[in-house]
Symmetry: D2
Subunit: 149 residues, 4 copies
């Protein structure tokens, strides 16, 4: 049976994902954490730090984009056969509200899983306590590469 | 006379730019440096560090995008009247070659400077010694805000 | 009370929309029809004709994009005060499945209605009888202009 | 020797291109003409007609996008081996000036010709007599498909 978006992933895939995330120097340097991975979905949390700001003290669009791009990459990866890896071909992101809050939460969601190309939607919310506000919206194209992780 | 792309900027604008760049926690955290600012042009250098990598040891697309976005923002800013600030509305970036080298160099170039919206082209090269390779190409929309820097 | 996405629009706005659509030479030339307009939503239908094809006999991406762009424009327009008009700043569209069917249906949906800029998500389905397939997905930035329609 | 962007294309490729263009119902319906094809470059002209307008009487963004997309597709196609065909994966276009003039001229230019994916830059000028104004700027990702034209 074909897995559905949101289904749990196999333990091996989850382990591969976490190993891959741990090897990303940038995600560690930013303080990002992979907090959820399901079939076709990945969620990354990025707590606020002064090291992530732009000139007005909000989250810099570069950090917002970095976690959005990674969330899409991991979402795509969950739908791949073993021994595949993923590269971002391109993405587009609209920054629709000031990125202000205790943390950002980036969600990548696979819209089309093709043999070669995968398309994801990307959302980033700024979260403070119970408050969640959509601050960025994106669309991403990824390519599956045979071999490697 | 209307300034041309590539003209030197007034000392006050250059000072504003450098002050603004220095206030960007993320650019400092990544180790990025604003190395050139002319009318309608800005160039940022990002030396390689393990803290900037993705899972294969290349520059992470998130870092590449961050410096591309900032280069466009500063390029736009050079064309604004005093007491304006700039926000990224959206950008799109294609990652066209592996981002591998001693440093990245991001160039933002204003294509259309409007009263409200400014459009930039973004290029990122990977540089190692004399070798320069185009690794990313983008297009960005920015909005001018009255007041602030 | 603030209107919600999907609420009916005032008769005057609906009349303005239809008058505006009727003045679009391209939409008429393609055979497109504005079939639904609600607050923050617009839907356009484009029946198949050989005049809309690319070299393989499917709908040409240019026609798909044209109705997607227009659907977003009308969706944005429903949220504007009177005596405003709308221009597309930019859009990005992924063509994710072959555009094959009896007709295309383009949906524009406002994600963020700002004072100056409005952001829409765009979806295009190919429809044949009961079958609907998502064939394109886009994201669009629009600007509100005072005066005119 | 590797061909350079702007080199003339082989007569067989030029014949394939024109045959392909002639099979595009939409390009014929819009009145578009493929006026130049070189290695990595294609140029399409779209003369003004009331059938191409939006509600203010300018060229509709949908027509502008359609010729930009096709110009990129043909530019990519010139770099492909025989028995390949091309599909647009996605494109992004900024509409930077009112599309007003006697005709539009769309230029597609290959920036990266990969084995699977090709990246193009897209420019559209509005032309009236000697006057040329850049009215749209885009970036496009295309995929090469084995077989067919």
């Amino acid at each position: 049976m074909k897995p559905q978006t949101g289904d749990p992933v196999a333990p091996q895939i989850e382990a591969d994902l976490k190993a891959s995330f741990a090897r990303q120097g940038l995600m560690r340097h930013l303080g990002a954490e992979l907090i959820e991975a399901r079939y076709g979905l990945a969620r990354i949390s990025l707590p606020f730090r002064p090291e992530l700001t732009q000139q007005h003290g909000y989250f810099h669009a570069g950090g917002t984009s970095a976690v959005a791009d990674s969330a899409g990459g991991y979402a795509a990866f969950t739908t791949f056969p073993e021994n595949s890896s993923v590269l971002t071909v391109e993405f587009k992101i609209n920054l629709i509200n000031p990125a202000q809050g205790e943390r950002l939460e980036a969600l990548g969601r696979v819209v089309k899983a093709g043999r070669t190309l995968t398309i994801c939607q990307l959302e980033v919310h700024a979260c403070s306590g119970e408050r969640r506000e959509l601050i960025a919206l994106g669309q991403q194209t990824l390519i599956r590469i045979e071999g490697g992780v």
